[in-house]
Symmetry: D2
Subunit: 163 residues, 4 copies
């Protein structure tokens, strides 16, 4: 059983056709798993629905706490890309490899609802990495996997790269 | 560097609007990698473009031969789902773990061109499994990974399951 | 109020992921009207769900009869493209302009379910022509409108053209 | 020959994946006409690429001037929905029915690039109304057609309605 925690991010943004702006409603995770014909045993829980630039220390504390309490050894966290590395750092501090947990953060550059999203690709990727990697905290983006302290988001290109 | 061999299958089927039938033209792999914002170093080569029900022993021989000759240690093969297990068996016979190669076959239940395909999810999954699994021959479908001799396609449900 | 009669055709074909073939299930008309944010008053009724190459004289008789009985003066008929002209001819014989009815047949070259369909464009077109054209029988395809006896489908190009 | 003037609006908004905001790049009109398999003779020209809330009197003056100079008798204008009625009024003042020109404004509630757009439906509708309506200025939205002085956008529902 894999636990999936939803925190919002571009993944789940939608278009409000009355105001012409982007907003959060419900997560698209269940629909994405259906589309991918996923048969992985998962338990999805939405912790929050925020743009990761608006994520507070309290929010991060909650994510860490939920990961600590989770009984599953494999956890995927959907997250906005802008501060994904920061949340990964908080998780690594609280959940070292000795915790026995493999935590994989993933996200998207384009909202799933917008048709041409990288979200489905990243979700398939994150669910696969979490099943095979040893305990630790990782980021799965662009088909690649990085340990939490060896990656940064390049804001000019939108690509995650090794440091 | 990951080698991707394309052999056709539902992944790459298109709709011929003049005849109302499905057919093969070019592979959608490069477009799918772009959509997924993949930054994995890959080298894509189309070996054939066939429905896997039409795949001959000679076709399988060619796939095995190309995998043997490939200098990459990580190989993903896109393949029709109906005889994916059969090709996996042929690969396992020729390329035992001692060969040092990790081979992951994947496919789709719905053509990528049809909008609601599982292909992008499976591609993200296969590319991730191939980077992390030890040498051997695997099938990546439905977000799960099976060793070649522990899986069958359930034709009633369209789902790959452990045996 | 506009009456919409559904008869099947490429418009409504779906992909059966177990057999890899195309088939009919339910019509996509209501979903398409929702997607188009249509606020036209319509009443949708499915008469049959057939490939227009399989349409029999009895099927055509039924379509004609339903159009005759309909109390609406504006009728749109979704139809396979291959024999759309033939059904239009049957309708014109039974429902001359003096009947006071404007009948517009439309269809699609690519199934709506396949993402890149012309169906939504054609539906918007047919619903608009039917509101503005005088009584008669018309085909709305490719953004154009033809009277029933001035059009043929070019099978090489898939385009409807004036004769 | 139908003239299509592009002015921007939701129709043509895209998602900037680096900033997470919406912006204008090129018009999607030619791609939409291809998707719709349109065979209507059209000549597309982009006049501006603006959100209609940002449209100035000078912008409106330019649109009016271009419509006046156009040699085509049938003109479609893609436009943001928020001030579509205002531009229609300016056009009606300058181009009365006696000008011999049929002008149809249309737009979308959801960007075409976002997959589930009403844009293709509206485009098919506008192109059809412009071919059949007598000279005058009209709005084609939600499958319906309104003369310029008999319509308003309901901002609560996002629907155009008769007044």
């Amino acid at each position: 059983m894999i636990r999936i925690f939803v925190t919002g991010g571009t993944f789940d943004k939608e278009y409000n056709e009355l105001t012409g702006t982007l907003f959060f409603k419900d997560t698209h995770l269940p629909e994405m798993l259906r589309l991918g014909r996923s048969r992985v045993e998962v338990s999805v829980r939405t912790l929050m629905m925020v743009d990761s630039l608006d994520m507070t220390d309290a929010d991060r504390g909650l994510i860490v706490e939920e990961c600590r309490k989770a009984t599953e050894a494999q956890i995927v966290i959907t997250h906005g890309t802008d501060t994904m590395v920061e949340t990964a750092r908080a998780l690594a501090a609280a959940l070292p490899p000795a915790s026995g947990k493999t935590l994989v953060l993933t996200g998207a550059m384009v909202p799933y609802a917008f048709g041409s999203s990288d979200g489905l690709f990243n979700l398939g990727s994150a669910l696969s990495f979490v099943q095979t990697l040893p305990p630790g905290v990782y980021l799965a983006m662009n088909g690649r996997c990085f340990t939490w302290d060896k990656v940064r988001k390049n804001r000019e290109t939108g690509v995650f790269e090794a440091i």
